[in-house]
């Protein structure tokens, strides 16, 4: 454009803008703010309602059938890692990743000594899984029937956002499958073949892991979680993921 033509153009300042246009811009701004605020209020209130009484789902309110969950009796774990070995063998887990692992913690006790606490960790099959929320290709979802968070390896593009989103570091990228892999409660290898328990549960010699259907009052998981005077906790409840793997000291 030539300078002369430029000089003739009107300045794009608020003084030259007609009020109708100004109004429509403000309306757009208000609409965006309103949507944002509404979403914030919605997410805050919904978090408050869930798990007000404790981490164990209220009796009778089980969204899945069977409602598969695992109870980990943490004080008995001795890090023999037979569960890890069984998982690796059953599910072909490569050495650079894990479907379940054992974490270690030190705690001061009387006498100036320290005790070691071992904590098995695996995919918690959350009721509000952050990994499912972030997956761009719906390669992972929570199965409606069993509640297991499953993978469709064909749809996984390896973006690893789910690995970052998981509060429990339960996912790893499997090079051979070219997809993210994680614990699936041995669904394809054991449960669908009629086995009752997962590989890790069978392998544990110290009876640390207990697996079963939480909606069945006769199951051991139900008994453990609803035993009187028992403390039950979950890992990282503040993440809001509502996990289905519980830890107890009884």
């Amino acid at each position: 454009m030539k300078i002369k033509e430029l000089e003739k153009l009107q300045a794009e300042s608020p003084d030259t803008l007609p009020s109708a246009e100004r109004r429509s811009l403000l309306k757009i701004g208000l609409a965006v703010t309103g949507v944002y605020l509404g979403g914030t209020i919605l997410s805050l209130t919904s978090v408050k309602n869930v798990r007000a009484e404790g981490v164990v789902p209220k009796m009778g309110k089980y969204p899945f059938s069977p409602h598969y969950s695992m109870v980990i009796r943490e004080h008995l774990c001795i890090d023999c890692e037979l569960c890890k070995e069984a998982c690796v063998e059953t599910n072909n887990v490569p050495p650079y990743g894990f479907r379940t692992t054992i974490l270690e913690r030190r705690r001061d006790i009387v006498g100036g000594e320290q005790e070691t606490i071992f904590m098995p960790v695996l995919c918690n099959h959350c009721n509000r899984p952050p990994c499912v929320r972030v997956c761009p290709t719906t390669a992972t979802w929570k199965d409606k029937k069993t509640g297991i968070v499953v993978m469709n390896n064909g749809r996984c593009i390896g973006c690893k956002t789910c690995m970052a989103a998981c509060p429990y570091n339960a996912r790893y990228f499997n090079e051979e499958k070219r997809a993210v892999d994680k614990c699936n409660f041995c669904w394809d290898t054991r449960l669908s073949q009629g086995e009752e328990n997962t590989a890790c549960v069978e392998a544990c010699p110290a009876d640390v892991r207990v697996f079963g259907d939480l909606s069945d009052p006769s199951s051991r998981v139900f008994e453990l979680l609803h035993a009187p005077e028992t403390i039950v906790w979950v890992l990282r409840p503040e993440a809001g993921a509502v996990p289905n793997v519980y830890y107890t000291n009884a």
Partner: protein, 225 residues
């Protein structure tokens, strides 16, 4: 004058050399070891029924001045390692007066159920068990030095005096301990903490053992840096 001085000083040097050389002669017991008189110089090591039990001829023949007939051929054949082939070559037999027990009965020499470390190697580091589960340790120092227990407290009624032998037994598990076998003989809640409490005192886990082995490699062999 100079000539005489030279002769005298060189004579002195010669004499002093001879004297010093003579005084530096090896003492009588540092002469070349005569195996025909004193028996094999090297320690005899037995590996059955337990590994790492040894016998030193020198201590008996040279220091104690025993002659060959004291043991050969009634107590022991004159052949290195022959004794371990016999089924009755064990501590019970020695208590009965067989083998070493013929003299090591408390009167001729220290009793065979005392001073175990004279013949048996005491493990320095922790013993690591891997069966039936991995990651279990036992430390002698905690029991012998800190608690002041003697060898007989566990050997050989509860445990063979051999590192790693216990895990070969099928009944080496927690139920056995609760019934009072193995560690459970003392770890019952009264003598020492009950074996169904404080699990991680001994069950340090696969991670714990890996750390221990890593530390040991650093202190004993150097980390190679």
């Amino acid at each position: 004058m100079k000539k005489i001085l030279t002769i005298i000083s060189s004579l002195l040097v010669l004499v002093s050399y001879v004297v010093i050389a003579a005084s530096n002669q090896p003492a009588a017991d540092q002469e070349p070891y005569d195996e025909d008189t004193y028996g094999p110089e090297a320690r005899i090591i037995w590996n059955k029924p337990v590994k790492g039990a040894f016998f030193d001829h020198k201590t008996h023949t040279m220091d104690m001045e025993l002659d060959c007939e004291s043991c050969h051929d009634e107590l022991f054949e004159m052949e290195t390692g022959a004794a371990e082939a016999y089924d009755d070559f064990n501590m019970a037999a020695m208590a009965d007066g067989l083998y070493c027990g013929a003299c090591h009965d408390g009167s001729s020499a220290f009793s065979s159920d005392t001073q175990c470390a004279s013949c048996h190697l005491v493990p320095e580091g922790p013993i690591v068990w891997t069966k039936p589960v991995k990651g279990v340790i036992f430390e002698h120092e905690t029991h012998t030095e800190e608690m002041g227990l003697d060898c007989e407290s566990c050997h050989s009624d509860l445990f063979l005096m051999q590192a790693g032998a216990a895990q070969e037994n099928d009944d080496f598990n927690m139920e056995s301990l609760y019934e009072g076998n193995y560690c459970g003989a003392c770890h019952d809640g009264s003598t020492a903490f009950a074996s169904n409490t404080r699990c991680t005192s001994c069950h340090i886990g696969v991670r714990g053992v890996a750390r221990l082995m890593g530390e040991k490699a650093e202190t004993s062999h150097g980390s190679g840096h």
